[in-house]
């Protein structure tokens, strides 16, 4: 007997009867960058509900911070958002400096801004490159990663490490900039510009790319605010919240830059916003390089907080004592509690720190932008289909280290 498909037909599509099915995606799934588990309730391929379960990368960051000295937190914050560790370093330094009431010399602040923006470039390049790759466009990924390595070359030259720099210190940076820092930075920037121009050329008017990205994973601005979303994900919905403009820290009020915003809040907008932010970062870096003085201190000279220069440590008793006190007992941060927040790669990275006056932090809370962005992922996914998980999850740029801590 021939089946009469007419009775199933609705709006020209055949709607097959189905019953909801539960599917487990992750924690180890080839299309999930980051170990995360999604328990999907499906109707055919449509997502009825999703239970996102983070925590597979939980390493007890906040607990670990409560047993070392303040300076020993820096290696831990490196491993929060490990794609842009310099932003975390700077963020934590600023938090402790806020609590202790310290002010870093101008040269050090410009230096921090340049390094931070370089880290932001590397973060966005990684995210957008990976987004493209997960949709099958492998070439842009290679371009982005290649360019990211150029950026990391600068960071390596400055800090000695490509990824986990541990370069921040309370009251400055571990070392002053190298002699060729400015030239090196300025030489890399055109390459970044070229890469994003080429990547945009190959992708943003690409039919496949547009079909996979446009209108997928949409988030409304009111919901985004209520869900605590920040960073490029929030800006893609049209909300112009950027800590660098809203609550300028360091010297961000002295440099010109714009906040790129989207208007649909979908994956496509997030992709565009990220590339546009790279352009703004390049703009900021160029201004910073111009304004950063070539001589002068980069760190404070209060050696109760800042490590004294090494040659002094080996030669004079005062510096030896200072070094000894900082290493063995830790920096005595005055008692109190502050919340300090900066714009990291994924949004507002806040540090709520409590000190009891001893050399060890009483509490270090990192407000992880990824964690709250990931929470909004449920709203983005419900109603979409299984293949849409990949670009959506990619475009919120969940970094496991930061989300799970």
């Amino acid at each position: 007997m021939e089946t009469n498909y007419e009775e199933f037909e609705e709006d020209g599509e055949i709607e097959l009867p189905s019953e909801p099915m539960r599917l487990n995606m992750g924690p180890s799934h080839p299309a999930m960058h980051g170990t995360i588990r999604m328990v999907l309730d499906l109707d055919g391929e449509s997502i009825l509900d999703v239970d996102i379960q983070p925590g597979y990368l939980h390493r007890g960051f906040e607990k670990s911070c409560e047993r070392g000295t303040w300076n020993q937190v820096f290696p831990y914050v490196d491993r929060l958002n490990y794609v842009s560790p310099m932003l975390n370093n700077v963020g934590f330094s600023l938090a402790v400096e806020k609590l202790a009431g310290l002010e870093v010399p101008a040269r050090g602040t410009w230096y921090r801004m340049i390094l931070g923006e370089l880290a932001r470039i590397s973060d966005h390049l990684t995210c957008n490159g990976a987004s493209a790759m997960e949709l099958g466009a492998f070439t842009p990924f290679l371009w982005c990663i290649k360019t990211r390595d150029y950026v990391w070359d600068i960071l390596e030259q400055e800090t000695g490490a490509r990824l986990t720099h541990s370069f921040g210190r309370i009251g400055g940076m571990a070392k002053p900039p190298t002699d060729t820092f400015k030239e090196h930075t300025l030489a890399v920037l055109p390459q970044v510009e070229e890469t994003i121009a080429e990547t945009e050329k190959i992708l943003i008017r690409n039919r496949i790319f547009m079909d996979r990205m446009q209108g997928v994973g949409r988030l409304r601005p009111e919901r985004a605010l209520a869900l605590g979303v920040t960073g490029p994900v929030l800006r893609s919905t049209g909300v112009d919240y950027d800590v660098r403009k809203a609550n300028p820290y360091m010297f961000y009020k002295d440099v010109d830059f714009d906040i790129p915003v989207g208007h649909d809040g979908d994956n496509y907008d997030r992709f565009i916003v990220r590339f546009e932010e790279i352009r703004q970062s390049i703009r900021i870096i160029r201004q910073c390089v111009e304004k950063m003085p070539d001589a002068g201190p980069t760190s404070i000279d209060d050696y109760r907080y800042m490590f004294p220069p090494k040659d002094e440590v080996y030669a004079t008793i005062e510096a030896t004592i200072a070094h000894f006190k900082i290493v063995m007992e830790g920096v005595k941060v005055p008692p109190g509690e502050v919340y300090s927040f900066t714009e990291a790669g994924n949004g507002e990275l806040g540090f709520y720190i409590v000190s009891d006056g001893s050399g060890t932090p009483y509490r270090v809370r990192a407000r992880p932008p990824s964690f709250l962005n990931l929470q909004a992922c449920r709203e983005m996914l419900v109603g979409d289909m299984i293949p849409d998980i990949i670009p959506t999850f990619g475009s919120i740029n969940m970094i496991g280290g930061e989300c799970d801590r």
Partner: protein
């Protein structure tokens, strides 16, 4: 930064604002747990405040402080329209709960789960108060000060996930994936899965379909149970 939030809050709630501070420019007000939800609603809905952007919720444990409850639960919110922010704190004793703010700001859903996970502070009316970063069998709340940092957790028993028929391929097996041959056992005729004499097709299918949990090692059809982790 924006002292006016605290002033507005004081004008509305009077001495129900227990304390306030502006240390290093961070405006903070402390309220009682019973006013928690009411204050939150006021912060969100008052036209002069419009704190519509949820930022964070966290807690701090002070087990040694005298005369005050043990936990500080903190709420950070900001306003996108007015660009100001505030920190609200409630002091909660051990075992005491706070009303959930899930309906005020949807973002509180996970943050409250995390506070419950890490500190064991429950939230009344929370629709989904599970652990979030840790697993359900975890014992204790690690961010409490009395949780030793070096404590190890007991081994978790194999867990059957309700509603998911397909079991993940890890469980109390013989200590190795099913395709590998335990030659020592096989030479004694023990590795039934690949032994052509004893391991029938039927048993192999059983082993495949059930993961390795009930892989027979004794008499055909009999399952030998082994505790996990050995």
């Amino acid at each position: 930064m924006s002292k006016k939030i605290i002033d507005r809050l004081e004008a509305q709630f009077g001495d129900r604002v227990l304390a306030k501070s502006g240390f290093r420019g961070d405006d903070e007000a402390i309220v009682a747990p019973k006013d928690w939800r009411e204050v939150a609603l006021f912060l969100r809905d008052d036209p002069a405040l419009e704190l519509n952007h949820f930022i964070d919720m966290t807690a701090t444990d002070y087990p040694m402080r005298e005369g005050l409850p043990r936990f500080d639960v903190l709420l950070f919110v900001r306003s996108q329209t007015k660009n100001h922010r505030v920190r609200i704190k409630a002091r909660v004793a051990e075992g005491e709960s706070l009303p959930t703010l899930y309906e005020v700001w949807a973002g509180a859903l996970w943050s409250e789960r995390e506070i419950f996970d890490m500190f064991g502070v429950p939230f009344e009316g929370h629709p989904d108060l599970r652990r979030i970063l840790l697993y359900p069998e975890f014992e204790g709340h690690p961010l409490r000060k009395d949780y030793p940092i070096a404590r190890t957790q007991p081994l978790v028993e194999y867990r059957d996930v309700e509603g998911i028929d397909k079991l993940p391929p890890f469980g109390p097996d013989m200590g190795m994936p099913w395709t590998r041959v335990d030659w020592a056992e096989r030479m004694e005729g023990g590795d039934l899965q690949v032994s052509p004499d004893i391991g029938t097709q039927q048993h192999q299918r059983l082993a495949l379909s059930r993961g390795l949990e009930y892989l027979p090692t004794g008499e055909p059809g009999e399952a030998e149970e082994k505790p996990s982790g050995e």
